[in-house]
Point group: C2
Chain length 127, copies 2
């Protein structure tokens, strides 16, 4: 139950990019600008209705990806976890469904760049 739609993903990207919690209106404007100019993948320069953004935010909330402050008047929304955390979690999810985890890891490592391999070695440290 982890897959996101195109607009849902665009919204998450904005929430992950900004450090502050955002309102639906802010997000709507950012979506309108994010953005024809950028190489943004898909959801660019659309003038969306605010209700559209609110619906998407509600769905993201139900999925546990977003939380909102209900206290403030324009509710403020923010990502529950960082993009890196979320992505890493997704990777574990994908990996977890395999009965041959070690084989998967082997293939995975096999096609990682040398730079990243180096990073991984550092992260793994000594036994």
């Amino acid at each position: 139950m982890a897959s996101l739609g195109e607009l849902e993903r665009a919204v998450m990207d904005l929430l992950w990019a900004g450090q502050e919690a955002a309102t639906a209106n802010t997000l709507r404007d950012q979506l309108a600008r994010t953005s024809a100019a950028q190489g943004g993948s898909g959801h660019e320069g659309k003038e969306l209705a605010v209700t559209t953004v609110l619906t998407v935010l509600s769905r993201l909330e139900k999925k546990g990806l977003v939380e909102r402050e209900r206290g403030t008047r324009p509710h403020r929304y923010q990502a529950v976890s960082s993009r890196a955390d979320h992505t890493a979690e997704l990777m574990h999810e994908v990996l977890g469904s395999a009965p041959d985890r070690e084989a998967v890891l082997a293939r995975f490592i096999g096609s990682v760049s040398e730079g990243e391999a180096e990073t991984l070695r550092k992260l793994l440290g000594q036994p």
Copy 2:
């Protein structure tokens, strides 16, 4: 475009498990047996119509996960790549969409079991 439905996944699991290419009928029977007894997740003991299996196989073929021998009379189907390869590819796909790959890897490594960390060290070898 990588996510699979429940039945699609069950079929892939069978194709990945068996080493030989299988026919729709074989798969149908295996699906009927794979199986109430097993802890199979979801798609168990259903008596499916063969056309149902064929439809699913066609969809998997369109997605590039399965290929079929059209020459033989009952067409024979097999997975294009091993489960491990496919899963590793999926992991790369998930990772690839992130601008902060190293951060993701860090989180990922952070929540890997010690046994797997050991495996990873071996796989990475020396610089």
